[in-house]
């Protein structure tokens, strides 16, 4: 095992690492301490990259070698079960790409954009600190655990290491997060396309394009995925460019100028159809297109930020650190952490790190590179999103991200309200931005995606095309986000269907049969109803939906991360490595504190902006008095809001309860492990040197 702190490579290496540390510290000082003058985004990139290198070189390798005791001599599932299909030893760079493509999604793009309401600094600090001590540790440890257990899933591992009840609780947690994720992501798309004929036209076009690709790859040139993706990309760009004509031709634009509720129904219908059709026809081709777009655009954005080096207009801190911001409600702790979620630690990744990746890893020694490194990359995506949100004029940012109920519906009202918040902006500036990006209005385009798209358009058009191409770049960015979010929606609906079939199948065994058409239709229908309900509720929410839904989503995501880290801690104790258990105990404690506080505050806080019950009672009082409170329009709407408040309160309470019960089961398992003199972790037998669990690699 190599020396840990570069001692082997001598003075030069030490000097190199000292230089990286110094550069990182200087950049960090510049972004943290400068006040008043705009800071160049390059400093943020340099600070982040230096931190990633240091964290990987010192902390990730420490965890791998000392804490987990990865054993390069131990055969991985890919080697033991090599079948050329699921279990394939894969080159580590190829696997890195596979893993990153699987974990990257909309979360790290949207979370930081919303977090920017407190200024760029708090969010950036948490994206960097969180990934190093929590997110990357979780991904890597879960990957390690699953690799040692034949690539078994998170739920399976919780069941075998912590007992059947804990496993069932984790299973419920996973189903809940799935439903909430689908609803929130679909909501982001609805908010981005609402009243935007250009965006709607291009995104709708992805369906026929996928059908063409699917048929091409099935009947004409079977299995030529790269060819069909290239064809799809060309068609997509044609649709993007033609979308401008559509938006400028009133007769055509009318077909694609849809309201939020209509879009929501269309997306729910799409999710249902896509999840029951044969996968080769619609789901797979869209998936290919969106995966390549995702990787391509992330790379393009990184290059553009490095070349353009834009200045950050957003202040380091805004006055909204006190929790009075218009984008989302709640104080810095816990809601900043809940809002950022995926960019620094994402429970969802625990599902992916225990999915296909552990079945493909060539050697245990590659676990830090894939697990920790992959998450560092994801964190970098979050940093880029933060940069994109912060290059906007803060007045434009707040006008885009505040609900109409707060800033009104005209540019004059919005400019007035936002200027009163302390971010001086003129109505002309707001209409100019809308005009530049080819939209009717940019006011109250909540959900993060449009803000990110405006930021990206600003950065990318400085690199290629200038002002003339801003509108194209904006819609390109919207298309890129909508495309891969909708791919998550259709694939996620299938996953949800499976979980529902599995759950209901315990009571009605016949329902487990996944080959039955009736079961599939019912399962998909139920899945769509569940997430569709929350989506629709979010769309018609007068506060803009994201305000209510994003904290719920963040809480569920962090809840899953807490579950995963509790599992990691339990296993470390069972491996008799409790000496190092602090590595997972620290992030687990933090996440438990965040999710439980957030869950309880969402239920019980007396501020109606934060607590669901307080909001419900405020509305109920008004209903009793026969008053209609803005932004609701009728008493009927008010009572629906009250019902949704109770529903959301129940969900938030459920999240907190899941976390607390997992902690209890964690403690029970740890006590049992401490009372046993031998290692009790249930790993796959390994015939060879160092077979004992927690071998002597330290």
């Amino acid at each position: 095992m190599s020396g840990l702190v570069g001692s082997a490579n001598g003075l030069q290496t030490k000097l190199l690492w000292a230089a990286i540390a110094a550069l990182g510290a200087v950049s960090f000082g510049i972004i943290a301490l400068s006040r008043g003058e705009p800071v160049n985004a390059a400093w943020m990139v340099i600070a982040a990259v230096c931190i990633y290198f240091i964290a990987y070189r010192f902390y990730a390798l420490f965890i791998a070698n000392k804490v987990l005791g990865v054993d390069p001599a131990r055969a991985t599932p890919a080697v033991r079960h090599n079948d050329g299909l699921d279990y394939v030893p894969t080159n580590r760079y190829v696997l890195f790409g596979h893993h990153f493509a699987a974990i990257a999604g909309a979360g790290p793009l949207v979370g930081p954009v919303l977090a920017a309401q407190m200024g760029y600094l708090p969010g950036t600090l948490w994206i960097l600190a969180g990934v190093v001590i929590a997110g990357a540790v979780q991904d890597m440890t879960v990957l390690f655990l699953s690799t040692r257990r034949d690539g078994r899933s998170l739920g399976d591992m919780v069941r075998s290491e912590m007992g059947a009840v804990a496993g069932a609780i984790a299973g419920i947690g996973i189903l809940l997060i799935c439903i909430i994720i689908l609803a929130v992501l679909a909501l982001v798309v609805v908010q981005a396309l609402n009243g935007s004929p250009w965006g709607t036209f291009t995104v709708f076009c992805t369906v026929p394009i996928a059908l063409i690709m699917g048929c091409y790859g099935r009947f004409f040139r079977r299995g030529r995925v790269l060819e069909m993706s290239a064809i799809g990309f060309v068609l997509l760009m044609a649709a993007l460019i033609y979308g401008q004509t559509v938006s400028q031709t009133p007769a055509l634009a009318a077909y694609f100028n849809l309201s939020g509720p209509t879009l929501a129904l269309v997306i729910i219908g799409y999710g249902f159809v896509a999840s029951v059709l044969p996968v080769w026809l619609l789901l797979a081709p869209r998936d290919y297109l969106s995966t390549f777009m995702k990787i391509g655009v992330v790379t393009l954005l990184a290059i553009a930020i490095i070349i353009v080096r834009p200045y950050l207009q957003m202040p380091a801190l805004t006055k909204f650190v006190d929790g009075t911001g218009p984008v989302w409600a709640g104080s810095l702790f816990p809601f900043l952490f809940i809002t950022i979620a995926c960019g620094s630690v994402s429970g969802w990744h625990a599902l992916i790190s225990s999915g296909t990746t552990p079945k493909m890893i060539e050697n245990e020694s590659q676990i830090p590179f894939i697990g920790y490194g992959g998450m560092l990359m994801e964190s970098f995506v979050a940093i880029m999103a933060m940069i994109a949100a912060s290059v906007l004029h803060p007045g434009v940012y707040f006008a885009m991200n505040s609900a109409a109920g707060i800033i009104g519906t005209t540019a004059a009202q919005a400019a007035q309200t936002v200027s009163n918040m302390g971010f001086v902006v003129t109505p002309d500036q707001l209409t100019q931005v809308a005009h530049d990006v080819g939209e009717i209005t940019v006011l109250s385009r909540t959900g993060g995606a449009p803000t990110l798209a405006v930021g990206m358009a600003q950065i990318l058009s400085s690199l290629f095309g200038g002002q003339a191409l801003t509108a194209i770049w904006y819609h390109f960015a919207i298309l890129f986000e909508a495309l891969f979010i909708l791919t998550t929606v259709d694939a996620g609906t299938r996953v949800c269907r499976f979980m529902i079939q599995d759950l209901v199948g315990n009571a009605i065994p016949g329902f487990k049969e996944t080959k039955s058409w009736a079961n599939n239709l019912i399962g998909s229908g139920v899945a769509c109803l569940l997430w569709g309900y929350f989506l629709y509720q979010g769309v018609i929410d007068p506060l803009g939906g994201i305000w209510t839904m994003w904290p719920l989503f963040g809480t569920s995501n962090q809840m899953l991360a807490a579950i995963a880290l509790v599992l990691c801690t339990v296993v470390l104790f069972k491996m008799k490595r409790e000496r190092y258990a602090w590595v997972t105990v620290i992030p687990a404690t933090w996440l438990v504190a965040c999710t439980v506080t957030a869950g309880l505050e969402k239920v019980f806080d007396s501020d109606p902006a934060v607590g669901f019950l307080a909001h419900a009672s405020k509305l109920s009082t008004a209903i009793a008095a026969g008053q209609v409170l803005a932004p609701a329009h009728s008493l009927g709407e008010m009572s629906r809001l009250v019902f949704n408040d109770y529903l959301d309160a129940a969900l938030a309470a459920l999240f907190a309860a899941v976390v607390i019960s997992m902690v209890v089961y964690g403690f029970l398992s740890i006590r049992k492990a401490l009372g046993t003199p031998k290692a009790t972790a249930i790993e796959v037998e390994f015939a060879g040197a160092g077979a004992a669990v927690g071998g002597s690699s330290a």
């Binding site: 696997l95 596979h98 995925v225």
Partner: protein, 78 residues
Amino acid sequence: MPDILSIKFAEWKERGQAVKTWSVRAARSMIGVPDYETYVRHCQANHPGKPIMTYEEFFVERQEARYAVSKGRFRGCC
């Protein structure tokens, strides 16, 4: 002189080929299609005499597996 140049050219061509091969592999792996040649080699070495799927069959099998509901595979969300 031309000799050195042509050697250099061959070397670069080889490198370019390697970059292409690995990029294509990585791209396919991202969408759940593992390397077909590796599969064929695996079958030849370990299951001689058993039928080996053609690339087309292999692709269809992998595509179904990636989205097989019963496997509960999770992907890209956050």
